[in-house]
Symmetry: C2
Subunit: 138 residues, 2 copies
Amino acid sequence: MQSADAKLSRSSLQLALRRYSSVVRDMEQTVLLPSLLRDVPYDEAADCEAADNNMDLYEYYLMLKAIKNTVESGLIPHDDAKAKNQAALHKGLEPLLEAQPEALFHFHLGGLFTVIATLAKKSQNLTEKYLDIIGVSH
Amino acid sequence: MQSADAKLSRSSLQLALRRYSSVVRDMEQTVLLPSLLRDVPYDEAADCEAADNNMDLYEYYLMLKAIKNTVESGLIPHDDAKAKNQAALHKGLEPLLEAQPEALFHFHLGGLFTVIATLAKKSQNLTEKYLDIIGVSH
């Protein structure tokens, strides 16, 4: 039982990244007129979560595509503006890097998995919403 | 200039992970008697960083090998004990997942890159220390 449970609860980062690419590719092939997404609010009601997000769906579409490019290139862009925003986050974790590097490794590995799985779901939601907008039932 | 600079400052997570595996493999091939590392303190003096760490070199050696297995399998172990330790860290980031998923993606991607590059250096240091212990000059 134990080993079967362990197997089921394991997840692969590689698979999650590949799945994300494939879901965003579907989105790109479906959304032929991305400009239709402009000014459509990013509606979080369905997710029952706070909508702190003030991006419209068009901005979200661009963001999902940009992340796909990063995922597929495997490269880590060193954007100064982004780096500044994140300096505070990283600062708090620096002591962990020395004291508990293994915990920090698992923290970032698990975190990357969670965020990419969440974004894959967002991409699917966006595709569905586009189909709603153009009046195609699904 | 801009694009050349951007190119130089980019780093690849895939490469960093592959380099880590290779450095730990070197360590495993060099350290033929890991028990010699028992009770050797993990000396942080060379790094000029605080030594909150109370692992000995043998424990460090085992940790580096365990992380290599995770890196090579690509699987994310869902260890309940580890999960509990990290719940607090993740809790603080949950609002970010909705509000700024792109920032969180870059945070974890960059974080994973930093931690794996740091651990690769630690593995090289450990290999050198082992050679010191057995009296092989390098």
